[in-house]
Subunit: 182 residues, 2 copies
């Protein structure tokens, strides 16, 4: 990690975002009509319901397991991440159940992260990504934050597109309706 | 409004999103370090703090005043919306104060909307937009919803870009970092 990156990434700042994501998604989605919760941006894209399942799978298999892998000094690559796991694992579960599971796992994982007592030097420790090659612990933790925000964006964008036609002439002003156009 | 649009727009669905936005933005932003709250996507773009001020200005001057304008059968155009008002009106106010003001105004405006006892026929009533020309009440209300979601996207995207470099090789997977690239 270069000096510039070290300056950009601060653990407390990262945790401040990570600890808010379950409540933010809960406030957006809990109790919302299925029109919004099950909407997608077209074939092969994910609904808000699918996104919460994906975030749960990340809590189980991605962020903290990979941080431990790096700190253990493992030289083999991380386990590849299964981007389709939620279609299997969320089956039969209500959105409310998924939101609670995500919030619980996130709290446990942030407790684990804090318990690692990481130092600046730890952020430069390296691991091997199966596709991207060498990455650092600091990059992994920054990615956890951006990944959360990327999915908050996806949820809001997917919901907005439900009203793509309903906004009539105003759609000209609503650039979100054209982001990731299929 | 065509039959298809009328089918897409349902007042209860719209209210379900509109009533959740203040809590969603509050959960994302309240108490968050300034690194995130004051970040922008570059010159001329807005920080999360700026966005909340813009949403407050909309509650005062845009959605409900324009709905009343349409229902009153006014033939003159709506007052143009001031997209820069927040730079004047938010001055000296804390983010926490702005979030509370936004939540209070939104609650009052949704009470006013519900109190209008709108029927399907009302959604087809027309008003004159100063730039877009003829629009309907249904389109105005659908736009209110998409406008909220557009700004939720903007807040999350702006925050994500703070860690643009910090994610290292993972940036290749994080498409949010390239949306609305300056």
């Amino acid at each position: 990690m270069t000096a510039v990156e070290a300056d950009e990434f601060k653990l407390d700042d990262a945790i401040a975002v990570l600890e808010r994501t379950p409540a933010a998604l809960g406030a957006m989605l809990a109790g919302l009509p299925e029109t919004w919760v099950r909407a997608t941006e077209g074939e092969g894209t994910w609904s808000p319901y699918d996104v919460i399942g994906h975030l749960i799978h990340g809590e189980h298999t991605d962020w903290i397991p990979r941080a431990r892998h790096i700190l253990a000094g493992e030289t083999r690559a991380f386990e590849p991440f299964d981007r389709m796991a939620q279609f299997r694992e969320s089956q039969g579960k209500s959105l409310s159940e998924l939101l609670t599971t995500f919030a619980d796992l996130r709290r446990e994982n942030l407790d684990a992260l804090i318990g690692m007592n990481l130092t600046e030097a730890d952020f430069a420790r390296r691991g091997l990504h199966p596709e991207l090659g060498e990455v650092t612990l600091g990059q992994l933790l920054a990615t956890w934050v951006v990944h959360d925000l990327d999915h908050v964006v996806q949820v809001a964008r997917t919901m907005a597109k439900v009203y793509k036609d309903a906004t009539g002439p105003w759609s000209a002003y609503l650039s979100i309706l054209r982001d990731r156009q299929k």
